[in-house]
């Protein structure tokens, strides 16, 4: 399925991006093009800058040099551009970041109503539609605190989808989940990928990467070390660092 729906039109274009935390050079010369419909898995050891990189794409982190373009708009300090870009990018976090004081339905309708200026009824219809898709329509009236981790993460995915984003970013979506809940979240993500959503996932779920990714990116020490199609990436890793990493996570 890796050839499916991928066009040449780049949705995200990152050129020579550099980022420092104080004196520490966290992201070094990142270059990345993401085409429409492409599904990219980013992996790498902890502290390699994978999360920081995707957080730069919707400006949760600021980059200091180089350019990031999303949908033809460059990310600068211009608040208007940032807001426009954030509207088009959905993000799913490791710790869900649902709003605990709002019900599941309200979590999903908040942004469409206030950012997209959608009518409440319409927003609720769309939200219920997505909650159906992630298979928890019956939890719509509950608060996030009353749901299991897996259910919360599925709500978070539905919440991001309600904004009809062009790109979805996943920042280790299954890392905070109990083992028996990982599958229900991955199933939703796989379904999403099959529908042609442009996705960038930071994850250690290599089964997921094999199944849906067009491209796997390996990062270490703030740089992109290697990128390839999943087949070649897993079977014939080129760099030593990739080989070491893969042997560590696939070792048992």
């Amino acid at each position: 399925m890796s050839e499916m729906n991928v066009s040449d039109e780049a949705v995200i274009r990152i050129r020579n991006m550099q980022k420092w935390y104080g004196q520490f050079h966290v992201l070094r010369d990142i270059n990345l093009d993401v085409s429409k419909g492409e599904r990219i898995v980013v992996c790498g050891p902890s502290g390699s800058g994978k999360s920081t990189m995707i957080r730069c794409i919707n400006r949760l982190e600021e980059h200091q040099q180089g350019t990031i373009e999303v949908d033809g708009i460059e990310l600068t300090n211009d608040l208007k551009n940032i807001d426009t870009i954030r509207r088009e990018i959905g993000m799913v976090f490791q710790h869900f970041n649902l709003f605990p004081h709002l019900t599941v339905l309200e979590n999903c309708t908040l942004a469409p109503i206030w950012v997209r200026k959608m009518a409440k009824k319409e927003a609720e219809e769309i939200a219920m539609n997505y909650l159906n898709r992630v298979k928890i329509p019956n939890q719509a009236g509950k608060y996030p605190g009353q749901l299991s981790g897996g259910q919360q993460q599925r709500v978070a995915i539905a919440r991001a989808l309600c904004m009809a984003p062009k790109v979805m970013l996943f920042d280790e979506p299954t890392s905070a989940l109990d083992p028996e809940m990982i599958k229900e979240v991955l199933d939703v993500m796989i379904e999403l990928a099959q529908e042609g959503m442009t996705m960038i996932c930071v994850t250690h779920e290599m089964g997921f990467a094999r199944e849906v990714a067009n491209r796997v990116i390996f990062m270490d020490a703030g740089q992109i070390i290697e990128e390839n199609e999943p087949e070649s990436f897993f079977n014939h890793p080129q760099s030593e660092r990739t080989q070491l990493f893969l042997s560590q996570i696939l070792g048992h």
Binding site: L60, F93, F96, L98, F99, V115, P144, Q146, M163
Partner: protein, 459 residues
Amino acid sequence: MANASYLRTEDAPLLPPPVSDTGIAGWMRRHVLSTMNDFSSPGAGIRSVLMGLLTLLLLYYGLSALWGIIDFAFIKAVWSDPEGLKRGVCTTAEQGGVATGEVGACWPYVQAKVKLFIYGRYPESELWRPNLIFALLAAGLGWIIIDKAPGRRFIALLMLSVFPLAALILLTGGHAGLSRTGMVIMAVSGVVLTLAGHLGLRGVLGEILLAFGGGVRLLGLLFLIIAAVMFFMSIDYGLEKVPTDFWGGLLVTLVVALTGIVASLPLGIVLALGRRSSLPLFRVLSITFIEFWRGVPLISVLFMSSVMLPLFLPEGTDFDKLLRALIGVALFSSAYMAENIRGGLQAIPKGQYEGASALGLSYNQSMRMIILPQALKIVIPGIVNTFISLFKDTTLVLIIGLFDLLGMVQSSFTDPSWATPVTSATGYLVCAVTFWVFCFSMSRYSVHLEKKLHTGHKR
């Protein structure tokens, strides 16, 4: 060697908890007797006996104190004064009165002074005005407090907009001699600022107004509100003017406390957000403001407002004493409120801010709908704490010559026609009970609010 294999074939039965853990007996055993029934060793035995003795002793003192109050307030109290003897009815024969035996609370004195306690020296013929305001206040608050009442938001809006204006006009009588020019200047600058802020937020007037448009618009609205209040205050409603010098008692207590409470919350929110702002100007201004007001005792704030402020103002400016105290109290408590709210803001995980911005919500939207609702919920105990201490601190206005409830009670002690040995005790009892009722109600409501807003989560 033990057998490693085990298989449960039947579920273990679900049993009720043992009887000794439930009911009154269980509660007593766990919470009272558990410290006194351990005789397993000589040391433990001695400790248990001592605990028992201590419990009895405390019980004795507690009950006798309670009995003392009941005895004073009800049993030995004098309830009525049918012959109009005034002090005579609450004094014994050797003190020059008619009472027999020891005298407790002197309720006829309270009856005679109750108007003074509630309204101060507010003119008798105009008492319907504060009464109407009290009634509106009680009805409005009652409506808002009942969770299932319809239109609570609307009533709350009325209570925050129309009610204070109505109270101001009714209590003072309106027709204040305010300068027309001042009013026009306020109104014009209000309109200009509001428009500038509004257009600025749309990005018409350049970068700076895009960033600060919200604040500018807020300031403009504030000016417009002041202009409107000045306008309504200058109209002649045909009401007799009652200068604030005549206000007193519970009326002053409630006016000062409610103004402080209503003003300190929004001001505190703005200051707390300002102190966490990434813009140095806002941050420095907020920190300076907060640290200044927190560093000064309320008494000196009140003294400054009544003694020193007139020295700085242009000669002939007449600035009402009560108004000055109100502003002092409001600014003072808003500094404390700001620090309370900042505590709540700091308790909100970073993920909430990120979740909100990732969805494209603006700073204002994410504060209003995501961060503040959660932060304020966390600090309800602290907020109510500030409200309660503010309510009690209103008694300090006594030192600048305003007579609140406590001040009025104290001033009534000087009336020779009610000079008895029990007058002051009775007066202070009334005062204490009144304050306690108000403060305890606030505390209970906050508990209720916390329970209501609890949505079964920690994060």
